[in-house]
């Protein structure tokens, strides 16, 4: 569901940057105010955990495909919405920088789609209401599934809206929605199930690490920022939709005619769906990967690198390196 830069117009990207940046500033203030400074390393480590958990796959019986943990919901359950939003944003930033997954301009969109909905809509209004802070129960599984599905459906719908508003893709609105929503329904069910079982495992093994009802009571679900955010999103969506409608006066009829009238579109749908699934399945089955990797020793690949990047000793360091050293020296705390 990561959007790429190539499909976003600067207006849409900039607007979503502003919205996500605003939410991030708000979350950063709330995390600072919470005065729990052990939250700082916990957030960092849990972000790294999400990355790692996504490389562990389990097989879904009967389908031949595999699933893994999603990110947003489990972070919201473990950290509360504000810290979770920041962690998701940092994970997406690293993905954009290092894996070319999404991009810089699309970062605002991605943070909003994958962070705002699970942390500020699905978690407070579905998960906590249904699960009622009992992590080991059938209710909790149902709550996680409902919350994950809702979060991903909203996110997928936002992807469609943002892509359409950018106007670079010709894909009709209806077809795009029909492509995105069912795929993300399946992904949401898997994410909900995995979130529920991992949370219930941890709650059973070490109940003391789970946030209890009393600790969450100090972190009330404040409806005002959520409503404000929704209002902003609505105004934004309304604005771009009306703009879209005015530039394409017969936009709706046009897309409906495309969707219903052309056999071609329906025929290609499966092609794109499978491409999307392939794109989801890029994470290869780890067990195979690792066993192959074991046979092929790593140094073979790292050798040419060592030749191209000679390590420099400290002596004879040019003057401009000192400012990097100064930056580096501020990290001695780790």
């Amino acid at each position: 569901m990561h959007m790429a830069d190539a499909l976003i117009s600067p207006a849409v990207g900039g607007t979503m940057w502003a919205i996500s940046g605003g939410i991030m500033a708000y979350c950063a203030r709330r995390v600072k105010e919470s005065l729990k400074d052990n939250l700082v390393p916990l957030m960092g480590v849990l972000g790294a955990f999400i990355f790692t958990a996504q490389m562990i796959n389990f097989s879904i019986p009967g389908t031949g495909s595999s699933g893994h943990l999603g990110g947003g919901l489990i972070l919201a359950v473990l950290l509360g919405p504000h810290a979770a939003f920041l962690v998701i944003a940092s994970v997406l930033t690293v993905q954009a920088f290092f894996f070319a997954d999404g991009g810089l301009l699309a970062l605002g969109c991605n943070i909003f789609n994958l962070g705002f909905y699970p942390a500020f809509i699905a978690y407070p209004f579905l998960y906590r209401v249904i699960a009622q802070d009992r992590y080991v129960s059938a209710r909790a599984i149902f709550a996680a599934m409902a919350a994950a599905v809702a979060g991903l459906q909203l996110g997928a719908f936002s992807v469609v809206l943002e892509t359409k508003a950018s106007g670079l893709s010709d894909l009709p609105f209806g077809t795009f929605v029909l492509l995105m929503q069912p795929i993300h329904l399946a992904i949401g069910l898997v994410e909900g199930l995995t979130t529920a079982v991992v949370v219930s495992f941890v709650a059973r093994a070490r109940p003391e690490v789970m946030p209890t009802a009393s600790s969450l009571a100090g972190m009330p679900v404040n409806a005002r920022p959520v409503l404000l955010g929704l209002l902003m999103a609505t105004v934004f969506a309304g604005g771009i939709l009306s703009w879209f409608a005015s530039t394409h006066p017969d936009g709706l009829e046009w897309s409906i005619a495309k969707v219903t009238g052309k056999e071609e579109v329906a025929g290609r749908e499966s092609g794109c769906a499978s491409a999307h699934r392939r794109c989801r399945k890029q994470q290869p089955s780890c067990l195979i990967t690792i066993s192959k990797r074991q046979q092929k020793p790593l140094p073979a690949r790292s050798h040419p690198m060592k030749q191209t990047i000679p390590r420099r000793g400290r002596r004879g360091m040019p003057a401009h390196r000192f400012r990097d050293l100064r930056v580096a020296s501020s990290h001695w705390l780790w």
């Binding site: 190539a6 950063a28 690293v94 794109c279 690792i290 074991q294």
Partner: protein, 268 residues
């Protein structure tokens, strides 16, 4: 996200620690220039192809001046391609309006916009990757913080990056041990998966706890301190203003069109 991915990430990290003229440019300057680059590339009309080509100069120049092996970056770009490809691929089938012609062959708007999307994809993705490869995560985070990104977030980015490798090691050790214990079967059953990931989570949390104790012992009080911020040097200004001037020129006039004259006129 297999194990190769982690090797790739650590390779990016090594690249970021190089010492070349591009690496010495201030991280803030590079970030702002790259953002400007992406915004200008994306602000072209949807059928634009030829005017986009001069923009390739920026990532390519950084690639060579930063001594970054192009092959590893190309692999990353290919891996990231499917989303843009999947969405853009519909354009040729949905937009049949002929908009230009080369010789006698007419080109439909759909194909032109598809080529345009893929060109933009190449440009934006390579620019972002090159930015990291010739800045490195630490300098980038320090730069971001000084540009006004909330401190909590900048610190979170650094922490996440620092623990990526450690937790990933933990995860791959667990996977290896489970592989040794389940001879022949390639896939995890769901029950095994749940307890495996649960244990990984517990171990990660325990590690966060130990890290916190160690930080407290070294006097951590919730603040991240950066020593004297360095001012921008003249080479930073030259970099920023030079590229900005080039981008604006390339945005205003079709530089490729000027070079090739009438040949590409139809396609622009």
């Amino acid at each position: 996200m297999g194990l190769e991915t982690w090797i790739e990430v650590s390779r990016m990290d090594e690249l970021g620690r190089q010492d070349t003229p591009v690496h010495r440019i201030d991280a803030r300057v590079k970030t702002v220039t790259t953002l400007l680059f992406i915004i200008l590339v994306m602000s072209f009309s949807r059928y634009e192809v030829s005017a986009l080509t001069p923009f390739f100069l920026y990532p390519v120049a950084l690639l060579f001046l930063g001594q970054i092996p192009p092959r590893s970056l190309l692999m990353k770009i290919l891996v990231a391609a499917p989303f843009a490809l999947a969405v853009g691929l519909f354009n040729p089938f949905l937009d049949h309006r002929p908009v230009s012609a080369i010789g006698t062959m007419s080109i439909s708007g759909g194909w032109l916009s598809f080529v345009s999307i893929m060109t933009r994809f190449l440009l934006t993705v390579s620019a972002a990757l090159v930015l990291v490869a010739c800045t490195g995560m630490h300098r980038l985070c320090a730069g971001l913080e000084r540009m006004g990104v909330p401190r909590v977030f900048a610190v979170q980015l650094l922490f996440l990056y620092r623990y990526l490798f450690i937790i990933a090691d933990e995860g791959s050790r667990m996977l290896r041990s489970i592989e040794l214990r389940s001879a022949g079967s390639k896939h995890l059953r769901f029950r095994v998966y749940a307890s495996l990931v649960g244990h990984l989570l517990l171990r990660s949390m325990a590690r966060a706890d130990r890290v916190y104790q160690a930080m407290l012992a070294r006097g951590f009080d919730g603040q991240m301190r950066v020593l004297h911020p360095t001012p921008l040097r003249w080479s930073d200004w030259v970099f920023l203003l030079g590229w900005t001037a080039f981008f604006v020129a390339a945005r205003t006039w079709n530089l490729a069109g000027m070079l090739s004259g009438p040949f590409m006129k139809g396609a622009s």
